[in-house]
Amino acid sequence: MFDKSKLDSIAQQKAEWEEKVLNPALKKFPERKKVFTTISGTSVERVYTPLDVADFDYEKNLGFPGAYPFTRGVQPTMYRGRFWTMRQYAGFGSAKETNTRFRYLLEQGQTGLSVAFDLPTQSGYDSDHPLAVGEVGKVGVAIDSIEDMKVLFDKIPLDKVTTSMTINAPATVLLAMYLAIAEEQGVPFDKVGGTVQNDILKEYTVRGQYIFPPQPSMRLTVDLIEYCFKHVPRWNTISISGYHIREAGATAAQEMAFTIADGIAYVQACIDRGLDVDTFAPRLSFFFNAFTNVLEEVAKFRAGRRCWARIMKERFGAKNPRSMMMRYHVQTGGVTLTAQQPLNNIVRVALQAFAAALGGCQSLHTNSYDEALCLPTEQAVTVALRTQQIIAEESGATDTIDPLAGSYYVEAMTNKIEEEIEEYIRKIDEMGGTLAAIEEGFIQKEIQESAYRFQKEIESGERAYVGVNKYVMDEPPPTNLLKVDMEVGRREAEKVRRLRAERDQKRVDEALARLREVSQSDENVMPAVIEAVKAKATIGEICDVWREVFGEYKPESFV
């Protein structure tokens, strides 16, 4: 972007400035710290100049929004066309309680739904399973069968809203229930839109909601992807997630690198199935975190988009530009929230959401200020949603696209993060790919190392954390916390037992036998799963078939 003589002149001017202006000032007023770093530990220079982006090539590295390499955004008009989808992750207790919360959020101007399932549902157990004791309805809604799903979406038209479901190991089952309900509402499959997380690889590294071993799990993932591009064309078949990687302790660059590594593994698995890259890749989507260091986050998102576009084009030979777009959802950083002085979290969330908007997200969840204490109360959820609305409507950040482009710092940081991502991808390729890197514990150990470093920085006071290690106050214990009582578990367990007693058992047995047969073959499981859920087979029964056919994952802990 700059010619050589100009750069030389800038370098000379910089040297003079250091000698005549900077150094005398430093003698009088030393800086606060010897080394400045981002929250990820990346060093930050005093001032950035064209010298830091000397090799910068606008056409090659940035280009224009909606065009390769998509650094500036995936759509040509971005938020001038429409804002990101405001999508608050919600779910607790029974389907009925969650349905009430969903309808409240839609009334408040939320534009998409996002379902949190309880841990038994996520792990493929019914509410009356011994391992479900105490967990039913706790961190999300309890769904055992299509009957619960019907209540969950009662009076919510599935052709008007899009729904994101945080479901991984049993993603096929929940998608099957959703499709069956759409059918009952008279909504054809090609009008149904939404996302399933369906990202099993990060369950092994950081999130822990796995059921089956990696190989059959990858098969289920690909079955869902294949079924959807043929029958549910508006469905985002996977949400390749860095969010939890970051929550577990990763740096910004690690979050992006390990997510892209997972993405490479999924694309390769689909290609190995014989699918053409441009058939399925346009429906792949991503999910990232946003921490409070706004500029580093913006750089991360821009670097990620550019990296993914290049990988899809150069490594996988994609031709359709849509295949090269990294479209993503963002959630603000849950782990950054503090139990101390919880109202401060509103400010953290606002900065994080601002970073997501400046970084060009497609949808956004803002956390509630009370989440380090409990599940969010209605008041806290409302403030979180309003935070997005203020950024969208009042901040002005949505009026022009990629407004931080051209900042010497942001471009230099974007380049640096991109290099780090590429270095990790190279290492993981050398190890034999993502699955091998997971089996060796490489990814887990890298993340844990970063978590450890961060903890040490907080405890030594080297990194300030307001309300935790600086500006600490004595506070009364917080009140107004949302609690889900144990009664939900008993009610749900009773309900699923009643369902089993009252349904047409013969139809269930036939559907499960058919599912077993299909699962033992190479056939796509989705049609058989849809039949099984329509027959009122429960999620536990369906997953039990697979536990027998596929086996269960036995984790190794890398501490």
Partner: protein
């Protein structure tokens, strides 16, 4: 006394009960306690109260640290205490961490949990607490 303590390290079982997968804190604490000279066993995910107490028995643990972020603490902690009592292991110190509201924490402490350490607790406080309060033998 000092010499005896040198001979036998404090033994800690760090446990993740239930289906909760949030193990950043558990793993981090396991490492930090080990660095503080304790012997640490991390159970991994998806432990029932029975499994946790069995591990503590097998390992002859002095301390059980339970990490809970999915809201199941009012079921798991009392159950672990109950099992310890049944097996005559009620001198094993039980501590906890995670997302545990203060009133629940107080109730758990009344039941016999030695301490609940919420988000933002410096890990050295946990190290000191264990060293000060663990049973001597």
């Amino acid at each position: 006394m000092a010499q005896e303590q040198q001979e036998r390290k404090i033994k800690v079982v760090i446990a993740k009960p239930g289906l909760d997968g949030h193990d950043r804190g558990a793993k981090l604490l396991a490492r930090i306690l080990a660095e503080a000279g304790m012997e640490v066993v991390y159970t991994g995910l998806r432990q029932t109260p029975e499994m946790i107490v069995e591990t503590a028995l097998q390992e002859d643990a002095d301390v059980i640290g339970i990490s809970s972020l999915s809201g199941v603490h009012m079921y798991f902690f009392p159950r672990v205490l109950e099992l310890l009592k049944e097996k005559g292991m009620d001198d094993v110190m039980v501590i906890g961490g995670g997302i545990i509201p203060q009133d629940d924490a107080e109730e758990l402490e009344k039941m016999g949990v030695a301490g609940i350490f919420g988000p933002g607790t410096p890990t050295y406080e946990i190290v000191d607490f264990i060293k000060k309060n663990v049973r001597r033998r």
